[in-house]
Symmetry: C2
Subunit: 381 residues, 2 copies
């Protein structure tokens, strides 16, 4: 166990790093972060920041040498940086987890081997692979880069072989992955925390609604059959065990069919707290950030049950600031709504600036109220 009072290192200084650090603080841990931006959201709550690019192996090694455990807020850490940290501190998650999670082909292969249903997919190393791949996926399909894609970046919808050839000449680096388009009726995510001892805690399943490829609204628990929830839990447990995960893993699924035909199709995963879990800060006994810290330090994991039986979250993107300072007084007339802001300076369009949470027995009703509150924010005072 890494006892409270020890120092935790965090690679990446965005809102996830910041909320991890706040949880670490409350448990009495010290925090040193690494981020190229000295004014990143994490900086405000860290003891100290190493200001460096994630690829500066020497800086990562320097950080690693000063902390009891090193964790990450994103999966795209260059392999050389991880190699530089290894041997100097514990990595949680370990490099094998990041290796799998940052690459769409590897994560899909892993999920399939762990017994999960995935979308039909195929690797494309060059134009010669295209026809075989489209035979697997059918059309329409989606062509994606294997690395560095997020929030809809690095992907193209293919409605024809011509579009496929065009996309193939644009998306880089190779290999790419072609995926079948799944006619889903909903999207959901499952978040698990796993300790070095193998102990696990799983949050109730989240239902996620996206807008322009960015998470917009989360409801918890997702309205799913109990057999579907059980399958999701079995799947994420198998995935976490296969990865020998120390920390947090979020898997995103498509919900296909309904009633007795309802099933989940694995889409992708992230080896860290996830935007869909932000609702747990106010809706759950022990939120995803505190449980992440408990998992990487090997403290016993906290209870993931929902205090009021449910809740919802809406993201606040930079657009909310488009016509000036949001009208906080107007938006917060419902005293039960909680605001979380990440301390980012510039409210650029599409930038995640904060979120609103509401714990409630009826997640759909909570989501409605949050959406109304977000609308009220835009009405300048």
């Amino acid at each position: 166990m890494i006892t409270p009072g020890s120092r935790i290192g965090i690679l990446g200084g965005g809102q996830l790093g910041r909320m991890m650090a706040i949880a670490a603080r409350r448990l009495g841990y010290g925090v040193i972060g690494l981020d190229p931006d000295p004014a990143c959201p994490l900086a405000a709550v860290a003891d100290e920041m190493v200001v460096a690019a994630y690829g500066e192996a020497a800086a990562v090694a320097h950080l690693a040498a000063r902390v009891a455990v090193l964790t990450v807020e994103f999966e795209n850490v260059p392999a050389e940086s991880l190699a530089a940290a290894q041997g100097r501190t514990r990595l949680a998650p370990g490099p094998q987890v990041l290796h799998a999670a940052r690459h769409r082909l590897r994560e899909k292969d892993l999920a399939r081997h762990a017994g999960l249903t995935t979308t039909a997919y195929a690797a494309i190393h060059g134009p010669e692979d295209l026809d075989a791949a489209l035979a697997v996926t059918g059309l329409p399909a989606i062509l994606k880069t294997c690395e560095l894609g997020y929030d809809g970046k690095g992907q193209r919808l293919l409605r024809s072989r011509d579009e496929a050839h065009a996309a193939l000449s644009v998306l880089r680096p190779l290999p790419l992955i072609a995926e079948a388009v799944v006619p889903f009726r909903a999207e959901c995510s499952v978040i698990i925390h796993r300790s070095p001892s193998g102990a696990c805690a799983i949050h109730p399943v989240f239902e996620n609604r996206h807008h322009r490829h960015i998470l917009d609204v989360t409801l918890v628990p997702a309205a799913l059959a109990s057999a579907t929830v059980a399958a999701a839990e079995t799947g994420i447990r198998a995935l976490a065990a296969a990865l020998d995960l120390h920390g947090t893993l979020c898997a995103e699924f498509f919900v296909v069919g309904s009633g007795a035909d309802e099933r989940l199709v694995f889409n992708e995963m992230a080896p860290r707290p996830h935007n869909s879990g932000h609702v747990t800060i106010d809706a759950s006994r022990c939120c995803q950030f505190e449980n992440h810290i408990r998992a990487i330090t090997d403290l016993p994991l906290g209870d993931t049950s929902l205090l009021l039986g449910g809740g919802a979250m809406v993201n606040l993107l930079g657009e909310v600031w488009a016509s000036g300072e949001p009208d906080w007084a107007n938006a917060l007339t419902n005293a039960a709504i909680k605001v979380h802001l990440y301390g980012k300076g510039e409210p650029r369009s599409g930038r995640k600036m904060g979120h609103l949470n509401l714990a409630a027995a009826d997640p759909a009703e909570a989501a409605k109220r949050l959406i109304a509150a977000r609308e009220a924010l835009r009405a300048s005072p």
Copy 2:
């Protein structure tokens, strides 16, 4: 309204300042603290610390000039420092609140004028006042200094006139206050937040158990008749209005009698978040620290209702560390228990190092579990 993104100043860098700052961070505010100790608990979560004594008026003025509002984590701020801050920023609470709250005679007079029942008390400016004072209080009585007393410091129990004379020659400065000993059956506290607009939010009443004059266990809600709770709320509202409070006020009461004879006797107050309110971090929708920040910035106040209907808290003093690192794994086998540590270096005897919280419908049962968990902490692994 002071909008998120603005800077809040906090005088005092202990655990109260730290937990205020964490709440401020989550709402997107910047934080600058002032404390003589550069390694104080607040320093870890502040943007910046002014390292100075509270009495250094120039340092306080410098801080005040850089923040949108200045708040305090304790009431004993020298008047010259407050004067130096005034005109440079908003003070919340205002100097009139601190002036009343840091002086036992003034706070009792104020409570009485606000319509609250207080203990029988009398001012003692010298030996010539003693007999008249004891005629008011009876014996046994308690003799206290008017300023700078806390956690049982600066007071003596008087069982006889001889003891009264002896105590009077020791306790300084004059005047002192003599108070009747109240045969209470329980102690409780009430916490109110009040905005510059006059809006108020009151937490459910806390029941407090002390050990060696230091808060040991809090249960919420206190087991009181509804008429008693209503009287407590009316009383604290009147007190906050009389003070024109901007911020948080905690009033401590003795519970006397039971059934139809149950009533509350005002003991003392503190114009800030209070140890008895720490349970609200996990048991309430919006905790005392977030509501303090909302009150001083004039954001709408948050809902103070209890998520599961109740909860309990136990303090972790330095004694828990007496035989080495506490056994966290043993203590946290109940996954619902939450740990809060303040990041203090030296676990000295009597020093408040942290606390444990448990939200539960049955506060007595929750308190039992927390006391057992605290015992388990002492059993070294």
